[in-house]
């Protein structure tokens, strides 16, 4: 019976109308206005005589999370088409990604294929929580997504549509809509896109501005690398100040400029940082230290040691203390930067509140080192100081008196060299530098890596203490490794592990491994 019917059936000829279905998916982060964008596209398609079906997922799954909108459209006919409610891998014509990693997610899910997909992505990043919580640098690499997109997409358009929208006083949905229109991926005229925006009736002017910017950029077929940081400004490198100081500076600058080429720029940067932190004498001290390192460097190794020393000695010397914070907070250049960032409207004023929370450690750190050390060794005194000072302080630096408090504190940096904090920092730096130079003698690469371990020391109060403890643990691990061929490699791994999580669990794991082989080796050697 089955065989009889089989002949009655044939594989149907491919329906050419199916090729007219345009399948469009929007991958966004909850809160980016994907719903608005969907409505605009739908309206625009209707205006062009298309039937459209749009679907979305609303609700809790969307709050700041990855979300997807999907729509299909085809020229209207007598009979309604049957559209899918879900995008399918290998079957998406236009993929709009409202963020770079969402473009990556779309590629991973197979929604971007070289035979059909136009990928329109905003190159900006909205960092996921997992990227931000890493104590080091956990930011995902957009270049990898771009590389994949260039292979996966038939056409790839990417630029920073977020910035474009913000500049136009609008939301990214508007610049994305402009990019979609400008890409020409939809067979509709620009006017019909704009008509959809106008019909939606809210924030029309700003939306049209962002739309136009997106349109122009996409029509130019732009692919723009995401910018790692802020827009590039010329570096603040030019010395300014009284003549005699600038003259002295020039001498220091010449000393730094005399460094080997590989280390020169870093030495200049470092020199500026320490002079900015304290004064010209401090800069000379910095160069003294650096020149000592240089004397022991190996030109055959490209002066890597000196370059890393230039970077990390500067960081160690320009540590973060109360004077430093007070100085930075009260500078005119800082006030100007805040004003640019907040951009108050014309005629508007700005109040500025700083959040300070000094502890006893910071208070005694500002004292002359002898007194400070005595007090910090006495638990009773520390408790008393804590009771007097340890509380959150909010200072309104737009007001004269609170500003003056910080201003005076910032001025006290002149006395910094005599303080307990300075003594502690100096001691720590010298011990670290000594260690690095000792290692350098037996293993150049390990010397370099040891200098780099200084990266672990950062932050304030508890975070600073945690950083110091990680630094110490890594240095202990390095002590076990010194003398091995792979010591530098392991030193780097330990440092990376230390930067991977807050508590140092990964570091603990890495140290265990190091102990398992290096510890044994050590005993063997001792025997």
């Amino acid at each position: 019976m089955a065989s009889k019917t089989q002949t009655a059936l044939q594989s149907k000829a491919h329906d050419p109308a199916l090729d007219q279905i345009i399948k469009l998916a929007i991958m966004a982060v909850g809160g980016q206005g994907g719903g608005v964008l969907t409505n605009w596209i739908e309206d625009c398609a209707h205006r062009n005589g298309y039937v459209v079906q749009a679907t979305s997922v609303a609700g809790v799954a969307q709050r700041t999370g990855a979300t997807i909108y999907y729509m299909e459209m085809a020229p209207a006919q007598e009979r309604a088409p049957v559209f899918s409610l879900l995008p399918a891998a290998g079957d998406v014509d236009i993929l709009v990604a409202a963020e770079m990693m969402e473009a990556g997610r779309a590629i991973m899910r197979g929604f971007v294929t070289p035979d059909r997909t136009t990928l329109i992505a905003s190159s900006h990043r909205a960092l996921a929580v997992s990227e931000k919580t890493v104590p080091g640098d956990g930011i995902a690499d957009s270049e990898e997504v771009i590389a994949a997109a260039e292979i996966a997409a038939q056409r790839f358009i990417a630029f920073d549509m977020e910035k474009m929208a913000v500049d136009a006083g609008s939301m990214i949905s508007a610049s994305l809509f402009g990019a979609l229109a400008g890409s020409g991926a939809l067979p509709f005229e620009r006017e019909s896109f704009e008509a959809a925006i106008k019909a939606s009736g809210r924030g029309v002017e700003a939306s049209l501005r962002a739309f136009a910017a997106g349109f122009e950029a996409a029509a130019g077929g732009k692919i723009e690398r995401p910018q790692a940081g802020q827009a590039k400004l010329p570096a603040a490198n030019a010395p300014a100040g009284p003549k005699h100081l600038v003259e002295q500076w020039s001498k220091l600058e010449a000393r730094a400029a005399a460094m080997p080429e590989a280390a020169r720029d870093m030495a200049l940067t470092g020199l500026r940082a320490v002079v900015d932190f304290q004064d010209l004498d401090y800069g000379a001290e910095y160069l003294d230290r650096l020149e000592q390192v240089l004397a022991q460097d190996d030109p055959a190794k490209g002066h890597e040691l000196t370059r890393e020393a230039a970077k990390y000695i500067a960081k160690a010397m320009a540590y973060d203390d109360v004077f430093r914070v007070a100085d930075l907070k009260t500078r005119g250049s800082r006030f100007a930067r805040v004003r640019t960032e907040i951009a108050p409207a014309k005629g508007a004023q700005m109040k500025l509140t700083e959040f300070m929370h000094p502890r006893a450690e910071e208070i005694v750190g500002m004292m002359p080192s002898g007194l400070g050390r005595r007090l910090s060794n006495s638990q009773g005194s520390m408790r008393l100081i804590d009771r007097l000072f340890n509380k959150g302080r909010r200072l309104r630096t737009d007001r004269l008196l609170p500003f003056a408090q910080l201003y005076v504190l910032g001025g006290l940096r002149k006395y910094r060299r005599g303080t307990l904090r300075h003594a502690i920092e100096k001691e720590h730096m010298e011990a670290w530098l000594d260690k690095a130079m000792t290692y350098r003698k037996i293993d150049y690469a390990l010397g370099v890596e040891t200098l780099r371990n200084r990266r672990l020391v950062k932050g304030y109060s508890d975070t600073h203490a945690r950083g110091l403890s990680k630094f110490d643990r890594v240095m202990d691990g390095v002590a076990l490794l010194a003398g091995r061929d792979d010591a530098a490699h392991w030193c780097r791994l330990l440092r990376e592990a230390a930067l991977a999580d807050e508590k140092g669990d990964q570091l603990e794991g890495a140290l265990k491994t190091v102990r398992s082989f290096a510890g044994q080796a050590e005993t063997v050697l001792q025997n």
């Binding site: 982060v29 749009a54 609700g59 997807i68 891998a89 914070v325 005119g332």
Partner: protein, 715 residues
């Protein structure tokens, strides 16, 4: 007021015969209810039908004009119980909630309703939250329909079919005296399209008519011996009546050629996915005209075996496309074929996966596999050959692209609560913490990782009951205001009082049922024209006998939050310690305040707008602040400074100035990098004068210092 307003869209509900309605699935459902002469509607919000509740709320005026009662029920159980009005009275009623979790909650009432049977049509519209975008455990509501014997409709996911199924659902319910579930999936709720409208119909018999003419009949009461009779009535009368109606009114549909060697049986909701797969296989055209016969079950319970056998006639193989597990339909059809001694091979879960959503690829693979086995000659040549196309090798992005689960919004008032809780745990060690349903459950994810379980809506504190006896460290449980009123007051708080719980309960009160879209609840602070709001949670808690209650009216006060948590964890008080932490949901607050603020600025009134910032040269890039926040507006940026290895914190323009950053930096003694900038729009004369004097004085001081030292400037 809900997150999304349908005030404009609901006007479309008024259109009549001959006009075309276009819009979203949820609006179409509402329109269909009005066309069907519904007498009362209600429900409980939850994705994907939250917006249906919002539409009903926004349409209340239109409903009232028609004599339709709208109730925003306290829970799904309350909503299902409301259908009792259809037991004795010839009134059509409809309620809506999400499935399967809402159905779980409603199951007590639904079982009683099903046993009693109905006179007026009773429709339960279920938003089945299964597959991508779902926020709950993955289960099927199907089992509930079977166990209580309610009929289950699963219409094709397009507006005309959904609308038709509302009409058919009421008719089927009345023809068989059985309540009917109408299931719509996540995407069908928001699918857009259009259909031919009919006139709205006033209910022929209203709830007011019923109050004027009360009825009762003990044969409908679920008590022995009537309950035994009801059980037999289900099988002897209601079941055959339903099957008869389904066949006579052609509720299920058949498509494609009559004669073919193979066929596909599918749930109505799977129709578009199946057609797309067939389109891609070259077996269907754009309109869905298919070469493979389809038997579309718009009614997935009960099944009509004769109809199925008729479909199987002349076929050697049939595929059942049924999403989720267990495969109730496939099992039932298989057993029917076996009992009838039919010789036909039945496929289903052997070709398609047992678990998970039937996405485009899954459907394509499954149907292709079935056809390869059962009728390979139907497939185009290119598909018969293995690996006909080569795909380009793509770099592996799985290690690059970070997961992006949902989380707290910018400025969320719950963030500081959990920041305080995390700091408390840093101080006193890890505690046994139970979560609940709601936005606050995001705290279980990084960066907070607070709470390790969720047992159901309003059951957070109840789920810590085993630890009520106390121990070395107190247990902590979280419950939201939504869950609190849903059933938490009795199941969680009452339970804790009665059992003299030693635990700490944190009630997260954000003034709305926020996770579901900002619907009002009893303790909402906003005035609601038709609902009673403004009933404080703290009063309710005291009312059921909690003696230790602390009310916090600004959750952003992290030090205070911490202090109270500490007090709760250390007090000698016997009995539950309840902290009510209240601050308005920022999404709703912004929606409310932003337009007012902008208007005030335009009108020249003085307005302060706060925003936070980070001093990039003070921030050292350790990201400790982010580990106590996770705010979307608190992000990172890489500085163009060779001395910096790690990106520094940065706050973007989406910051709403909630204060969490500053509070946390202070409370956790993090760092002095944060600042708050309050922009004062339209300052007064005195303020302007003082401001200009101060800024000149400050600039003088700054210049003075600059002149005395070397500084580096941009050129």
């Amino acid at each position: 007021m809900a997150e999304r307003s349908f005030a404009k869209e609901v006007q479309k509900l008024k259109i009549g015969e001959g006009e075309t309605f276009s819009g979203e699935g949820i609006l179409a459902l509402t329109k269909a209810l009005l066309e069907a002469g519904v007498g009362y509607v209600g429900g409980y919000q939850g994705a994907p039908i939250s917006h249906l509740m919002d539409v009903l709320a926004d349409a209340e005026e239109i409903l009232t004009e028609l004599g339709v009662r709208y109730e925003a029920n306290a829970s799904e159980a309350a909503a299902a119980a409301m259908l009792a009005a259809s037991v004795h009275y010839p009134i059509r009623g409809a309620v809506t909630f999400k499935g399967p979790v809402g159905v779980n909650v409603a199951s007590d009432a639904l079982a009683n309703l099903s046993s009693s049977g109905v006179t007026g049509g009773a429709l339960v519209i279920i938003g089945e939250d299964y597959g991508e975008g779902s926020s709950i455990m993955q289960e099927r509501s199907h089992a509930f329909a079977m166990k209580s014997q309610m009929w289950l409709l699963d219409p094709r996911p397009n507006l005309p079919s959904i609308v038709q199924s509302v009409h058919q659902g009421f008719e089927l319910s009345e023809a068989s005296n059985t309540p009917v579930m109408l299931m719509v999936r996540i995407r069908s709720c928001h699918v857009t399209g259009s259909f031919q409208a009919r006139d709205n119909k006033r209910p022929p018999f209203t709830v007011k008519d019923a109050l004027a003419n009360p009825r009762s009949d003990y044969a409908r009461v679920v008590l022995p011996p009537m309950s035994y009779m009801q059980e037999h009535d289900k099988i002897n009368n209601r079941w055959p009546a339903a099957q008869k109606f389904i066949v006579e009114h052609k509720l299920n549909e058949m498509f494609g050629p009559k004669e073919a060697p193979v066929g596909i049986v599918l749930q109505g909701g799977m129709y578009n996915g199946v057609i797309r797969a067939l389109q891609r296989l070259g077996l269907a055209d754009i309109h869905g005209d298919t070469e493979i016969p389809l038997y579309v079950l718009n009614v997935t319970y009960p099944l009509v075996h004769d109809e199925f056998f008729e479909f199987c006639e002349g076929k050697s193989s049939v595929l059942v496309v049924e999403e989720g597990q267990p495969e109730f339909i496939e099992q039932a059809l298989g057993s029917a074929l076996f009992r009838a001694g039919k010789n036909i091979s039945l496929h289903g879960k052997d070709m398609l996966p047992m678990a998970g959503e039937y996405t485009g690829q899954v459907m394509l693979d499954g149907i292709e596999a079935f056809l390869k086995k059962a009728a390979p000659e139907l497939l185009p040549a290119r598909l018969r050959a293995p690996n006909s196309e080569e795909k380009p090798a793509l770099p592996d992005l799985s290690k690059t692209v970070p997961i992006r689960p949902p989380g707290f919004c910018t400025g969320c008032p719950e963030r500081p609560i959990f920041a305080a809780l995390k700091m408390t745990e840093q101080e006193f060690g890890k505690h046994q913490i139970a979560g609940d349903i709601g936005c606050h459950l995001f705290a279980s994810l990084p960066p907070f990782e607070i709470g390790g379980s969720t047992m159901g809506y309003g059951l957070g504190p109840a789920s810590n009951a085993a630890f009520d006896g106390g121990g070395e460290k107190r247990s902590i449980s979280i419950i939201g205001d939504g869950g609190f009123w849903h059933n938490g007051l009795s199941s969680s708080i009452g339970n804790a009082v009665y059992n003299k719980s030693d635990g700490v309960i944190v009630v997260v009160d954000n003034f709305y049922s926020a996770a579901t879209g900002g619907q009002d609840i009893l303790s909402s602070r906003a005035d609601n024209a038709s609902k009673a709001t403004g009933h404080p949670i703290a009063d309710a808690v005291r009312g059921v006998g909690v003696k230790w209650v602390r009310q916090i009216d600004r959750t952003y006060d992290v030090p205070k939050m911490r202090e109270i948590l500490k007090e709760a964890l250390t007090t000698d008080h016997v009995g539950p310690k309840v902290i009510v932490a209240s601050s308005e949901c920022m999404l709703n607050r912004q929606r409310r305040e932003k337009p007012l603020m902008n208007k005030a600025i335009k009108e020249g009134r003085r307005v302060e707008k706060p925003r936070f910032g980070v001093d990039e040269d003070i921030c050292t890039g350790d990201h400790a602040c982010i580990r106590l926040s996770g705010c979307p507006s608190l992000s990172l940026k890489k500085l163009d400074d060779p001395l910096r290895d790690d990106p520094v914190a940065s706050i973007d323009q989406s910051c709403v100035g909630c204060g969490n950053c500053g509070e946390v930096a202070d409370a956790a003694v993090l760092c002095p990098s944060f600042f708050r900038a309050d922009v004062v729009h339209n300052p007064g004369w005195f303020e302007r004068t003082l401001g200009s004097f101060t800024s000149r004085a400050i600039a003088w001081l700054q210049n003075r210092r600059s002149r005395g030292r070397i500084e580096f400037v941009r050129t």
